[in-house]
């Protein structure tokens, strides 16, 4: 009932293929797994991929968390690391449950737009198990999901939303492989589309007397499609978790953890605690996979896609009044009024134990520190640029003042001369003020996210850098037709500024005789390419240049944060990608960096 298509292409036969796809129909849904074993062209890669596939097939009926644990324990996984998507497209409810680890891209195409699924941490076997998160999201009928390995350029997918509805899934898959396949790598892509009808409508109607555990409330009573309730409890109830995602529960230990956290947050008497815990465990057992929590000062509300049986249990435990069938809500009275502090909310939202939360908080702090340092480094660069940018007009202004004095001494000044002098000077001063504005805008993150013109950004950055480029005799060219990108223009400016800065440093270090930076735009692929002739980066280090604190510059010159931040900005804020490679022709060589942007929203 769900449509699924996949393709795997090895790049050579020697090592076997490290990429794999497994799709299997099971009772509760469609199991989809796409993986990429780390290591390029090494002999054991293909073997390990085959082991993973065999394990998935053999244990396909197991719940996702168990399956993931099983895969994690396969010998070789923790030595190599495996990027993995492991998902289940639910047959009962319009939900996609999944794990997404390492360098796998997952998208959903919806309403002519491609959005990225949340991925976490490093590959399987490398990142700590407790940081691996399980997700559930609503999967609407006819929504297409695309999962692919790094053998396919991620930007390709962004080109496809418009075609998603017009093309058949198989054709769409071919299109992706045609457009984005990297000939130097294994590639795997799987594409699946939720069935067009509702989930329950396609199931044979059941006799009301034989209520099956997994059956949902609505499905048993009416021929209406089952949807997760979209209505939220009205005020004064507020959401307990800070996180927007559903708190997803997949195992009994997770349910217990959830209860423990919940009881830390809201005060329930012992009876209520016991009832709630047994209720949640039962709901889980009956196939309920997600839950949202709301509370006001007196009551706790749980919203979950429960089954008829679970609903009856709820009635018997909490009373008929406690159950709101249409909104799938259960209301529990609290022992005393409750105040919620923010860390507990976050923990509840992420289903984290105290220890995991500490790790999570540490990582957040580290990321913030990193961002702070990167910003300081960028500020330093910027101050240098302002100094250069101001030197020339300051010089001219200085000379004008001295000229004024001279004219006054020689013959005295007449009104016209003073006016002319004032006009010329003001023009220079305005120019300097504009420069300051440019720089201020550059760092302002307060601007709204909106559609901006890429060529305009290039022009702005060129203006900011013009003095430095000129002082270093760097030729700057820009060509190609512009296109529009949605996001913060200032972020793209920062990225370009970093790249130009790096080129400039490369020219200096390598002593490039005729330094040159070429920017070109290609609207058809929505790509901005920056090419310099600064000698490039040693092939062995090329893959590391986007890592934090990694720098090729002499000690004290580079922070190792510029490219790292650029990558973050490109992915998180500009919905694109950034990649660098070396080029050589004749006696020239350098670095090419490609910024690819996903398709612009057609509306607005």
């Amino acid at each position: 009932m769900h449509e699924v298509h996949s393709q795997v292409q090895p790049f050579n036969t020697k090592s076997g293929c490290g990429d794999f796809v497994v799709t299997l129909d099971r009772d509760d849904g469609l199991l989809i797994s796409l993986g990429d074993v780390a290591g390029h062209g090494e002999p054991d890669v293909g073997g390990l991929a085959r082991k993973l596939v065999a394990y998935l097939k053999e244990h396909s009926a197991e719940p996702l968390p168990t399956l993931l644990e099983g895969l994690r324990s396969i010998p070789g996984v923790s030595e190599r690391g495996v990027s993995l998507f492991l998902g289940l497209l639910d047959n009962q409810l319009p939900l996609l449950h999944y794990y997404l680890l390492g360098d796998i891209r997952a998208y959903r195409l919806k309403d002519g737009d491609a959005s990225t699924l949340v991925s976490h941490e490093g590959p399987l076997g490398i990142s700590p198990p407790e940081l691996t998160r399980f997700h559930s999201l609503k999967a609407h009928p006819l929504e297409t999901f695309i999962i692919h390995s790094d053998g396919i350029a991620s930007a390709t997918v962004s080109l496809l939303p418009s075609k998603a509805l017009a093309l058949k899934p198989a054709e769409l898959l071919q299109e992706i492989l045609k457009l984005g396949r990297n000939s130097a790598d294994d590639a795997a892509c799987v594409l699946f589309r939720c069935s067009s009808g509702s989930h329950s409508l396609q199931r044979p109607p059941r006799a009301t007397s034989t209520v099956k555990p997994s059956e949902t409330l609505k499905a048993s009573s009416a021929a209406e499609p089952v949807q997760l309730p979209s209505t939220r409890p009205s005020l004064p109830f507020h959401k307990l978790s800070d996180h927007e995602k559903l708190a997803s529960i997949t195992s009994a230990p997770e349910a217990r953890l959830f209860c423990t956290l919940l009881f830390e947050v809201v005060e329930l008497d012992n009876y209520q605690q016991a009832r709630l815990e047994s209720y949640l465990l039962e709901a889980l057992h009956q196939g309920c996979r997600s839950i949202e929590t709301f509370a006001d000062n007196l009551r706790l509300q749980l919203q979950l896609p429960y089954s008829a049986q679970t609903a009856r249990l709820g009635e018997s435990l909490f009373g008929r009044e406690a159950i709101n069938t249409s909104a799938h809500l259960i209301t529990v009275t609290l022992a005393t009024s409750t105040q919620l502090d923010s860390p507990t909310r976050v923990r509840l939202g992420h289903l984290m134990s105290e220890q995991n939360y500490t790790q999570y908080a540490d990582r957040r702090r580290r990321d913030e520190l990193l961002a702070q340092q990167a910003k300081l480094a960028a500020m330093g660069e910027m101050i240098g640029a302002i100094a250069h940018q101001w030197r020339q007009p300051l010089n001219e202004l200085g000379l004008r003042v001295q000229q004024l004095q001279l004219h006054q001494h020689k013959a005295g000044l007449n009104t016209d001369e003073v006016d002319q002098y004032a006009a010329d000077s003001l023009q220079l001063i305005t120019h300097m003020a504009d420069t300051i504005d440019d720089f201020r805008d550059f760092f302002s993150n307060k601007q709204e996210s909106k559609t901006f013109d890429v060529a305009q950004v290039i022009q702005d950055v060129h203006r900011l850098q013009s003095a430095q480029l000129k002082n270093n005799s760097i030729e700057f060219r820009s060509s190609g037709e512009s296109f529009e990108v949605r996001g913060h223009a200032s972020y793209l400016k920062q990225v370009l500024f970093n790249l130009i800065s790096n080129s400039k440093d490369a020219f200096k270090e390598r002593g490039t005789v005729v330094p040159r930076i070429e920017l070109s735009l290609d609207p058809s692929t929505r790509t901005l390419t920056l090419k310099d002739n600064g000698g490039g980066v040693e092939e062995d280090f090329l893959h590391r240049i986007y890592e934090p604190y990694y720098t090729m510059k002499p000690h004290g010159k580079g922070t190792g944060l510029g490219l790292y931040m650029s990558r973050m900005l490109m992915i998180d804020h500009l919905h694109g990608t950034i990649n660098s490679s070396n080029w050589h022709t004749g006696n020239e060589s350098g670095l090419i960096t490609e910024l690819k942007f996903s398709a612009a929203k057609e509306s607005s």
């Binding site: 240098g384 100094a387 250069h388 030197r391 020339q392 300051l394 010089n395 001219e396 202004l397 200085g398 000379l399 004008r400 001295q402 000229q403 001279l406 020689k410 003095a467 000129k470 002082n471 005799s473």
Partner: protein, 130 residues
């Protein structure tokens, strides 16, 4: 004495090179009113031509110039045996001073140029050695 104070550069032939023509024109005017004969050039190559063909007592050269930059100009002049004072003017930061002086310049002046100081330097160098 008065005349000396009014026109401290009287009788001197100077060459000024800078591609920022407005700044160059004003500088030339100020030096000219201090008594010097000033020839201007928009780049290093032009400056080189002028210096080769005209008697020159001192050169004031911007470092960042197209065609032939200040450093190349100074090196060429020194290689050709030009032994008069050369003042390098630059908008670049102080730590580049060393390499500029190493190319053969006698002085290093950073922008914005204060003409009284520039004139003082010229007078000390030229009148002192004469």
């Amino acid at each position: 004495m008065d005349e000396q104070a009014e026109q401290p550069l009287r009788g001197l032939n100077l060459v000024c090179a800078d591609d920022e023509t407005t700044a160059l024109t004003i500088l030339a005017e100020i030096l000219n009113s201090a008594g010097a004969t000033v020839r201007t050039a928009k780049d290093g190559l032009q400056a080189l031509e002028i210096i080769r063909t005209h008697p020159t007592d001192a050169v004031i050269a911007d470092i960042q110039m197209p065609v032939m930059d200040g450093t190349a100009l100074i090196k060429t002049l020194r290689a050709e045996g030009f032994d008069r004072p050369i003042l390098a003017v630059t908008g670049a930061s102080k730590h580049d001073a060393e390499s500029i002086l190493a190319s053969g310049a006698d002085h290093y002046i950073s922008k914005p140029v204060i003409t009284t100081e520039l004139i003082h330097t010229l007078v000390t160098d030229l009148r002192g050695t004469k």
